[in-house]
Amino acid sequence: MTTIDTSKARDPHGDHGHGHHDLPYLAGKGGFFPTLIDWMTTVDHKKLGVMYLVAILTLFFFGGVAALLVRMELLDPVRIAADGTVTGQLLYSNPEDVNAGNVWYNRAFTMHGAIMVFMVIVPGIPASLGNFFLPLMLGAKDVAFPRLNLLSWYIYLLGSVFGILVILLNGVDTGWTFYTPYSTTTDAGHWRVVYMILAAFILGFSSILTGLNFVVTVHKLRAPGMGWFDMPLFVWGIYATAVIQVLATPVIGITLLLLIFERVFRVGIFDPALGGDPVLYQHFFWFYSHPVVYVMILPGMGVISEVIAVHSRKQIFGYRAIAFASLGIAGVAFIVWGHHMFASMSELGSVVFSALTFLVAIPTAVKIFNWIATMYKGSIALTTPMLYALVFLFLFAIGGLTGLPLATLSTDLHLHDSYFVVAHFHYVMFGGTIVAMLAGLHHWWPKMTGRDYNATAANICCLLVFVGFNVTFFTQFFLGTQGMPRRYASYPDEFQLLHQISTLGSWILGLGFMGHLAVFIWSIAAGAKAKDNPWGALTLEWESDTPPTEHNFAHEPVLTHGPYDYETTVPPKWDPKDWPLPDPAKVAAVHRDHH
């Protein structure tokens, strides 16, 4: 096979030709408007990653406020006395219409769920950290389709605009799952439910395009010398995620499209009054929405693999096991959707899905044990990202283990649709994904912004988040086992103490996040200049400048060592004040083993 390479064959020093571009990617373009236009039209994966990050964190704020409103309403149960006076409607109270307060409560939890799932957790890590670091970790100049990347950012923006429009129009109260026939028959005369479904549909497009882009990038743009098993585990996590995004999202696409048809044109697919079937909707919905649970968690697991290895300065334990566990989870993801609808299936169907669901525990446990084994005898540095990785292990283990009684039919009979479920998925979604995102954000923040943050302040915020989260959600396990159903503004008096503790926790949690925001703003405004490789990490993104230049690397990097060979490799841009050199005896031992 002969291939005439158009540029490099003629100019062996072609890589140097970009010298005039080698400014930091954050450099302005001479004036506010040229810089703004440059950012709005950029195809640079780093700028797109930063823009996604800002958008996602903004929406996280909205979703968080909605969550605080939900918790506030639950401080006091709604009571209607014999004479018709209503007490306990803290969110909204109207003496003329006693039901209005409950509707507002329903809207608050729907907006919280829809924003957090579709706009924050699903795109969260892949679109922000993934966009920024996937090409850098592969040693590439950009993702495979940079313009498609820009398009998918604008699609994300459009979907979010619809979501915010719905908030401005007073929100929807269907729950984030849009179950039919409620979602097709309520809110008549308004377009809010349609807008919200449309928002989710549009966001799905963005998700598909990002996933497709990442899959091709991993296949085609790895640095010379980088085989599949030389890729950092974050890349494996993103790759498995992208595969699910590509394969699952079209199904929610067609589902939501049919739902919109049903609402707007009154065709009968899901509404039993029109000859449709609501259980079909549930199957369609969960066929996407269960795999998407792993879209949420797999990138987080990738982040944790990086952070634990780097901050323990250890070769990751069981590299291949972790990589294959990611793919294993991606595979199992597609055959367990039925466990969301045990109540609407035959007994046999429930038994089958229950059995399949237990399979998820295997690859997940493989990962957890490998991370713990990685830390064993490592030289652990308790940096903010590492603290968050430990928080992740703690919370995610609880989240995973409490999934087992929910997958078991006999216990689920008691626990389903209760606060136990709420607590379980918050331990996985928040304790997993959001905490992993915080770990990743603190790990890569110096590289992204070129600034250090105040580690002590960040550690205090980490503690607040940890305590606040557990106070909020651990109490909900008790509420659930005692029989408190989810999605009610009112409850019997004996639940009030636990609800109040949970609400108190949500305030601590909110305080922790406000603290993190302050730390980040302070870092950008007045942080010291960050080093190129502050953690002494070995993956390729740390070989770039801080912040990276527009074309990422001065020369195309060539891989000479594995991503976690801490015991034998001098880190790039090594500073002897920060990190000791590897022990020469160990290096010699490894070389002996290899020859």
Binding site: A144, F145, T249, P250, V251, F265, L274
Partner: protein, 238 residues
């Protein structure tokens, strides 16, 4: 793996920048691959991989529709068995032939681009677009129009007085959803191929660069293939 990067017009000395005849060379020969790819082959492979992945998402999108067809057929067997009696297989068959011809011309267009047959490339692209338009016109004028006028409509809109089965609105819901979304894909495919045609007129595609034609044709074949499944399911099965 095919190597598409051999340069029939290539000069042994100097790149495009040093080439005094650069302006005279056709547009496709002047194409330079994206800076983040190592070679033009890499770029072509990446684009094709991306397109195949996208087609996989399209298949899954329609899988939802086929699934709901299966589900409702199982649920309302009488209404669905009778449904195909309302459709005229001759119109459906004609549309199948139209799409098959267009798939052939789309495939030929790719071959024409590879062989630098510019006139034939333009002609084949145009025929493909015209066939797509013909499909949509037949569908709208001879199928949707009369049926809608008779009251054979989906869900709540249904007002056909001579229905055999109470569940016929569900049949029409599936029929209109599936064929409507397919027709939308035909329109998108036509737009893509028409853009290819406009660019082909300016000499954008040739032996070393025809990614867009290839991918648009792949998309068109998929649209065709989905119709190949919809046609028997809706028109032929009783």
């Amino acid at each position: 793996m095919a190597t598409i990067n051999a340069q029939p017009h290539g000069e042994p000395h100097g790149g495009p920048g040093h080439d005094i005849d650069a302006a005279k060379r056709p547009m496709w020969a002047r194409y330079k691959h994206g800076h983040h790819f190592r070679t033009q082959d890499d770029e072509f492979d990446a684009c094709k991989t991306g397109m195949w992945l996208f087609l996989a998402t399209e298949v899954l999108l329609f899988a939802g529709l086929f699934m709901s067809y299966t589900f409702f057929r199982y649920k309302y067997p009488e209404a669905f068995a009778n449904g195909s009696n309302y459709l005229d297989w001759r119109w459906g068959g004609l549309n199948t032939v139209v799409l098959l011809i267009s798939s052939y011309t789309a495939a030929m267009a790719v071959r024409n681009a590879q062989l630098d047959q510019q006139k034939a490339l333009q002609r084949n692209l145009l025929i493909t677009v015209v066939c797509g338009a013909l499909f949509v016109v037949i569908k709208a004028v001879f199928e949707y129009g009369p049926k809608w006028a008779q009251g054979k409509r989906p869900g709540e809109w249904f007002s056909y007085p001579f229905a055999h089965d109470a569940m016929e609105p569900a049949w029409w819901s599936v029929y209109y959803s599936a064929t409507g979304i397919h027709a939308l894909h035909v329109l998108i495919g036509m737009a893509l191929l028409y853009r290819c045609y406009l660019r082909a007129k300016r000499g954008a595609y040739g032996p070393t660069h025809y990614t867009m034609v290839e991918n648009a044709a792949l998309y068109w074949h998929l649209v065709d293939l989905i119709w190949i499944f919809l046609f028997p399911l809706l028109y032929l099965i009783h």
